[in-house]
Symmetry: C2
Subunit: 358 residues, 2 copies
Amino acid sequence: MYSAEYLHDFTYGLFRKIGCPEQDAATLADVLLAAEKRGISSHGMIRIKDYYQMWEKGRINIQPSIRVLRETPGTAVVDGDGAFGMAAAKRSMQIAIDKALQVGTGWVTTQNSSHFGIAGYYSMMALEQDMIGIAMTNANPLVAPTYSKSRMLGTNPIAVAIPAGDHPPYVADFATTPIARGKLKIKGQQGERIAEGFVQDAEGHPSTDPDIIKQGGSILPLGGDHLHGSHKGYCLNSMVDIFSAVFSGANFGPFVPPQVPYLEAPDKQTGKGLGHFFGAMRIDAFQEKETFKQRMDQWIETFRQSESAEGQPPVLIPGDPERAMETQTAREGIELIDAVKKDLREVAGSLGLSFDME
Amino acid sequence: MYSAEYLHDFTYGLFRKIGCPEQDAATLADVLLAAEKRGISSHGMIRIKDYYQMWEKGRINIQPSIRVLRETPGTAVVDGDGAFGMAAAKRSMQIAIDKALQVGTGWVTTQNSSHFGIAGYYSMMALEQDMIGIAMTNANPLVAPTYSKSRMLGTNPIAVAIPAGDHPPYVADFATTPIARGKLKIKGQQGERIAEGFVQDAEGHPSTDPDIIKQGGSILPLGGDHLHGSHKGYCLNSMVDIFSAVFSGANFGPFVPPQVPYLEAPDKQTGKGLGHFFGAMRIDAFQEKETFKQRMDQWIETFRQSESAEGQPPVLIPGDPERAMETQTAREGIELIDAVKKDLREVAGSLGLSFDME
């Protein structure tokens, strides 16, 4: 078990060592540790080796000049200048928040960025300002549209954070697919099969093999098949792609560059890097702050009182599972799997740092 | 078969006859006929009898004073004053569009409204202004959160319309459940069973009975069960409820009043009427207009080229099925089922009007 502080310091030190500005190194450490604390280890320390190697290969600009390309009072298009996604995303969300302070809401789309970690982090930035926060990103293509066998879309997550009063906030943060890439990987490593409705093979036949992605297979949109509404999942997923990339001038759909060092970017580009979309809405644009928070508390209390179906656990409010993990990791520390520890020791070693405390 | 013009004139005349202002009667006819033309007959002429009886019972205000309760440069809260949902919604979307002209985007939440027909109609209003349009609404509770057997949420649709250039626009308009209420009704009338993953009985057990809703059953969120990501569908669906009702001051979740005359509103209220949420974003807030449209065309062309899985039809762009129906109904006319014709003759008769041409 590691303490969050130790992992944060290590991560900060590592990104400082390769030359990231203090602020960006801190942002990277904040976002990666937020994922670990919230139990989303697929977006935590496990990513550091890939990020490091992406930088080594010259695919990340660690001295970016992140800037606004175009704006109105309520919107902006941001050029991430090839930065680590966290740096570009945090700056973009801050711009959305600043615009919301002026005109009620702010909406920012970001081009020329890269993998930004958990979408929830950026949506939750809005909470401190008594705002609703929204964050989305496109991602490398693994998902097939309804009826298709082609990998056209990423797992394109959406995060929405809404402040409450006495209760913790509502925080939804989910991939627009029935299963995340990270979960498939774990099932594959464990040699397990998965239920139908998650993936298909290269010809588009249903599959229960979690490793089918490595053989040209694809992930299905939320809903699974057309009968069960996968066209709605496809709508949602493709909307995220358009908001993140068509709006911003980033690569869309199948042209999103891979975010891992061992896969090259496709020859054809339809924009720059990958894209994100952020929104911030002041709660007092809609209600007096206290009224809004009381209403959200009432909403949360109402939904907590939903009756569970036989044999099912209590009904959750979006954000509950991640908060439970935050409590647990604060008490017990953060566990890393051996493969991640090994990666971190390697990366640390090649930079003259060490990763060994436990 | 009926011509759209005949049905439009009839609908306009009917709502004029009960005393609606010209503009509102025209809006009601426009929205109901848009549904019929687009093949969404569950939201077309079939609703007229309910709307008429809701008015007869004094549950609709046909001389509403729809007004802005609160605003910032980019947002507004609208009081629908108990109007037909179409009247409140069209006015609200117009305000969102006007605000977007000023500050790039406009966002409006509406309280004290009622059933507004197809969400797609309002999102598509933005297209004419070279804007992206968004529309959502909450609805009477039939959907159970993940793990629950309680009906807490409506089928809460989301519509997003995005302009393109040479191609028709991208128009997604979908309930955030795997199946719509209307489809269940039809299956029930035909005496058919449905697949698992759509509904559950009053105890929360999986059911294949399309009529289970009448026996205390509920509709599942998009995804079906927790294993297949229904918590994501629940997030999406509950988000629509919060944006539409917590933001606006309408009734949320289980307190949304029924939109049919034979069911009374619950005693407890958490706001006024039902709620909607609308957004408009100028495409030139993000890109030069022509650039944006070219990029959307390129996106659409790319996705049309997705390879179909074996035995599957061509991959669709959101909006394709409804446009195909528009072409068909323009050529062949609009078919109404006998029960609807009977209802329309009855309503017409009681108003001294006639419905008989075919």
